[in-house]
Amino acid sequence: MSDLPGPHQTAEPVVVLYGTSWCAGTQLIRRYLRRIEAAFTEKDIETTPGAEEELRALNNGTANHPAVLIDSQLYAEPPLEKLKELLG
């Protein structure tokens, strides 16, 4: 059976939040994602092995955070309004 969504199903976007424990922007996005009950993975770029390198690879060599990967598109330091537009 295919894992692809059927005609009446909508695939949930794959969301990854890159941030740090001390960053207000990371906290803001985390709280927002929880509030809208979005499924997401969080990667602390200081404590998750390989996460900073992963972010740099996605973001032209910089580790600016918070950054949110939605499916294959990275949004670095996105305003909340942008995320609302993308995720509802």
């Binding site: 424990s21 001390w22 960053c23 207000a24 922007g25 906290q27 803001l28 709280r31 927002y32 330091e77 305003p79 909340l80």
Partner: protein, 185 residues
């Protein structure tokens, strides 16, 4: 070309970083919170003692317009309904003038009071052991003052750009609310 509102709202993203280790340790939990009388952006005097009977979150932050402060206050603005659930008032305090506060709060849509510790400069921050003499602004320091005026949570960020965990803050407010509920029964 005229600058846009969005460009102004995002100024903090390209502003010089505000970093460096903390110099002060702040007041300890259990101390009586020093009263203060500071103007808000409308030049109305706000005193800590005006809020006796409800918890107050005091947010000392270095400067308007700066990177960490912009996001920290945006976080608290986003969570205002939660602060309201705990019956808590939140007050931002920095050395900026009331005019700077007025422009900044309008641009960043901050609706809780921003108080100006402008003259004598930094007096309130000094009273809370959060004044950075060499910089001319305060530490990033957070206090929760209970309804009797006693400090129940105190946090000075170890580095200026570090913002304390909001879950920790909410846990303290939840505890105060629970104690109050029990004492009211």
């Amino acid at each position: 070309m005229a600058v846009t509102v969005q460009e102004l709202q995002e100024l903090h993203l390209s502003a010089p970083p505000m970093e460096g280790p903390a110099c002060m340790q702040g007041l300890p939990v259990g101390d009586r919170a020093p009263d203060f009388a500071l103007p808000n952006s409308a030049n109305e005097t706000v005193r800590l003692s005006d809020f006796r009977g409800q918890p107050v979150v005091l947010v000392f932050y270095p400067l308007d317009w700066s990177p960490g402060c912009s996001k920290q206050l945006e976080l608290y603005q986003f969570e205002l309904p939660i602060f309201a659930e705990y019956g808590a008032e939140i007050l931002g305090i920095s050395v900026d003038s009331m005019y700077s506060h007025g422009a900044w709060e309008k641009l960043r849509e901050i609706s809780f009071p921003l108080l100006s510790d402008f003259h004598p400069k930094g007096d309130a921050a000094r009273a809370y052991q959060a004044w950075r003499e060499n910089d001319g602004f305060s530490e990033r320091a957070l206090y929760v003052v209970d309804r009797e005026g006693i400090i129940r949570y105190a946090h000075v960020s170890p580095y200026l750009h570090h913002v304390p965990d909001i879950e920790e803050l909410f846990a303290v407010l939840a505890e105060l609310q629970e104690k109050r509920t029990k004492s009211d029964v």
